[in-house]
Symmetry: C2
């Protein structure tokens, strides 16, 4: 590969001779790892013209660098980085000067330090990945996804999809969500009540920013999705963690004065509890009494394969006080980064303005490809196939868990993709998870889901969304073995 | 198209008879626009099973709806929405009950009301679009972009690109930015100093959140990119607008006590002024004296076609106090939503954690497709082709502007994609732009770029990034005519 001449800059304030500064520039490029062995340098003529120096100066610099074995000359082919050139040091910080900035002072707001789960990016290489929220490539309809994306890349959609849409969404995707996705949850919404987001994470983040301030009070389930608790903590609102039971969030425990309630009625995250219809009505009544809003995170609603799902809270909402967050990440794949918010138009208008300020809009290509995939029926077929596979895996899981004497702490009434598990008292599932990794098994320790300083250490999550049925019994057996 | 049975929900608390509630449910679906003329309803058997009612109840409901011409029966094919069914009212709010939420109170933070420019989404339909920041489909290398995206959609990359990457970027894209993109601006950075963002907008937003609080002081150019001023206003920091001159931001005018300086040295936005090297050094010296950080927005650096670009501020920065924001939106296309931040590792770590909280990561597909397009050399070829076209258009623009007696207020020393124009005193360019739209000409009024309550009304921007050369003379002539 040739090194483009545009990547060469002489320090205009350098003190050494021109030739020495050229030599330094090239040697530094090699030592910093930017120029690699065998790469071709610009011709002396080109570099001289680019730097505005005489050609002989460049030739002399190159010759010196050949003598010191940084470069090699290949006659008429020109100059190349030598095969014997010094390798950059393993810590590539050599040419980066030490900062004179006190970052402890300069950083105004910190966002690191949240409960980021320690999940391996190479999870697919583990033979027993009971990992949650990743795609099973064997279930995904890759061929049709590819066709839809390729169609989107065609000339016809090009202008529309490459444009800056300012704060707008793809109307085809919004229409599909309004006409087909939401009615399955009993929700009726117009386009002005829908906002496309970068996944459910982005939907929850936007809702939190619009609704919460330092003076507001939010209630969140305990345990809950750790990234949601981080989002709420960053808003600096007053935050109450409300312990869930086997039916999800108990309305009567939501403190007086609460302004916004965050809940996961379909599959409580992470316990998988499904909120019964009577409690859904009670929760709405409680919210009405509090004059509070509800943010309903329905991150996994398609995974209802045991029986028909309950209607969403939003579908029962006669007041406009429920804001609904949905996602295509679990049902398509997380790398898609597409979800949506549904709520009253004044709320959606603020969320839309904030989204425009933060990132403008999700890429047009992803929105349109998803719209094709949904509207051509591939999505429904995929959901059916996934549901069949999950139902079978769940059945195998239940049998294996029973056979090994492990105990389930929570499971969804309608399906879902995981079990919430309870190890014997005094088990430290952080240590257990670490030990199991060495045995090829990935489980998710439960501590990060809990609020407070002394989270219980005995819980863990076992998902079956990314592990084939035939691996499940041995995987569960290994967990039981490690626990003993 | 058949209406899926899953989209039907009976209100469990309804008071009417079952049959009446089914009729209402279907009529409401039609009146709300969810079910459209000619669409097929589920069979009576299927709907009865789904709702848990007797089949005869559904049949009676359907029969009633046929009688009232909401539905039509096609014998053994089943029931369809009638061709004479009532059309939904033009304002589709009929079935959405009025909110009982006081949104004035419920919304904690407002984000609407910013200086959102009134740019038409259908700009491509105007014959004389002097519009800024949109793609010219005739210049873009659509074929190779498509090939790269299709390659990304292949089986090989699938697992990697569909996964949830938590807070990580595509390593191939980051490596390309580090080894090829940044060195062209004289910048050396390691992967821990680079963060991929959703375009430059997202990069600036992230930097503002990490660096600013209510107690910090930021300086921004006046005029400047309006969306940046909105971002800074939302942080509630103390904000000083510093008037730029023909060389961009004057360092000596930056107020004492400033913590963060936002600047656009390559092409001042919107005046196009290029900051000379001496002033770049003076700006760094001023920042050092203030112990301030600089956020350098180099949104258009590839568009240097008149002469070699000046080194970026970041390349002259020995202290680590410059944070550099780059974008592929101008050079590839805005719908890509890809840009990057370069800065010291402690800063990048905070920006990365914030990005993960807000949206996790830009979609893997977009990142990898861009990495292929860049690394296969298509990007460099595209930049060269675009630069040639812009150079020609700029030449035609200058001639037409001179011929029509219009006056240029600012132009980039190295190129760029627009002229900053000055109309005769007392011209209202908002009104001018509106009048010109009726004549097929799009220009951008200058008011939204200025801080303060009395922005001057005589400036406007003429971009040549989306208008073919042959249209330029007539377009400029129409502007001159409208001005008279």
């Amino acid at each position: 590969m040739a090194i483009p001449v545009e990547t060469f800059y002489l320090d205009a304030r350098g003190q050494a001779t021109l030739q020495a500064r050229i030599q330094q520039m090239i040697a530094q490029g090699i030592l910093s790892g930017r120029f690699r062995r065998g790469e071709k340098l610009p011709s002396t003529r080109k570099l001289a013209a680019h730097l505005g120096v005489s050609r002989i100066t460049v030739t002399l610099a190159y010759t010196e660098l050949v003598a010191s074995d940084y470069l090699m000359s290949r006659g008429r082919s020109g100059y190349f980085v030598s095969d014997n050139a010094p390798e950059p040091p393993p810590v590539p910080a050599l040419t980066v000067p030490a900062d004179r900035v006190d970052w402890t002072r300069a950083i105004g707001q910190r966002f690191t330090g949240g409960a980021a789960p320690d999940k391996p990016l190479d999870w697919a290489r583990y033979p027993y990945p009971f990992i949650y929220g990743q795609t099973d490539a064997s279930l995904f309809d890759h061929a049709n996804w590819r066709l839809c994306a390729v169609q989107t890349l065609g000339q016809r959609d090009f202008a529309a999809l490459t444009s800056d849409q300012y704060d707008q969404d793809d109307p085809q995707l919004v229409e599909f969500i309004a006409r087909h996705t939401l009615p399955r949850r009993g929700i009726i919404a117009t386009p002005s009540q829908i906002l496309v987001t970068m996944g459910a994470q982005n939907a929850l983040w936007l809702a939190a920013q619009v609704l919460l301030t330092q003076r507001r009070r939010a209630a969140v389930e305990d345990p809950c999705y750790p990234a949601l608790r981080d989002v709420l903590t960053h808003t600096r609102c007053h935050l109450s963690a409300v312990p869930v039971d086997g039916d999800g969030l108990p309305p009567e425990l939501i403190p007086d004065g609460t302004d916004v309630i965050f809940t996961t009625p379909s599959h409580q995250s992470p316990t998988s509890a499904t909120m019964p219809l009577a409690r859904r009505h009670a929760l709405l009544d409680r919210a009405r009494a509090l004059e509070a809003l509800i943010v309903e995170d329905d991150y996994e609603f398609e995974m209802a394969f045991l029986r028909a799902p309950s209607p969403a809270l939003k579908s029962l909402d006669e007041d406009g006080r429920v804001i609904y967050a949905g996602s295509f990440s679990k049902s398509l794949f997380p790398g898609l980064r597409l979800g949506y918010l549904v709520g009253s138009a004044p709320f959606i208008a603020e969320a839309r303005a904030l989204r425009a300020s933060v990132l403008r809009h999700p890429p047009g290509l992803m929105q349109r490809a998803a719209a094709y995939f949904l509207s051509l029926g591939h999505y429904d077929a995929l959901i059916r196939r996934t549901a069949r596979a999950y139902a079978e895996r769940r059945h195998v899981m239940e049998a294996a868990i029973a056979a090994e004497g492990l105990s389930i702490a929570g499971r969804g009434a309608h399906g879902g993709s995981s079990f919430w598990m309870q190890a014997p008292e005094d088990t430290d599932t952080d240590a257990l998870a670490l030990a199991l990794r060495g045995d090829g098994v990935l489980i998710e320790p439960g501590r990060p889901f809990f609020a407070g300083d002394a989270p219980p250490g005995r819980f863990y999550r076992l998902a079956y969304s990314s592990i084939p049925s035939e691996r499940i019994p041995e995987g569960v057996a290994r967990i039981a073995r490690a626990m003993r």
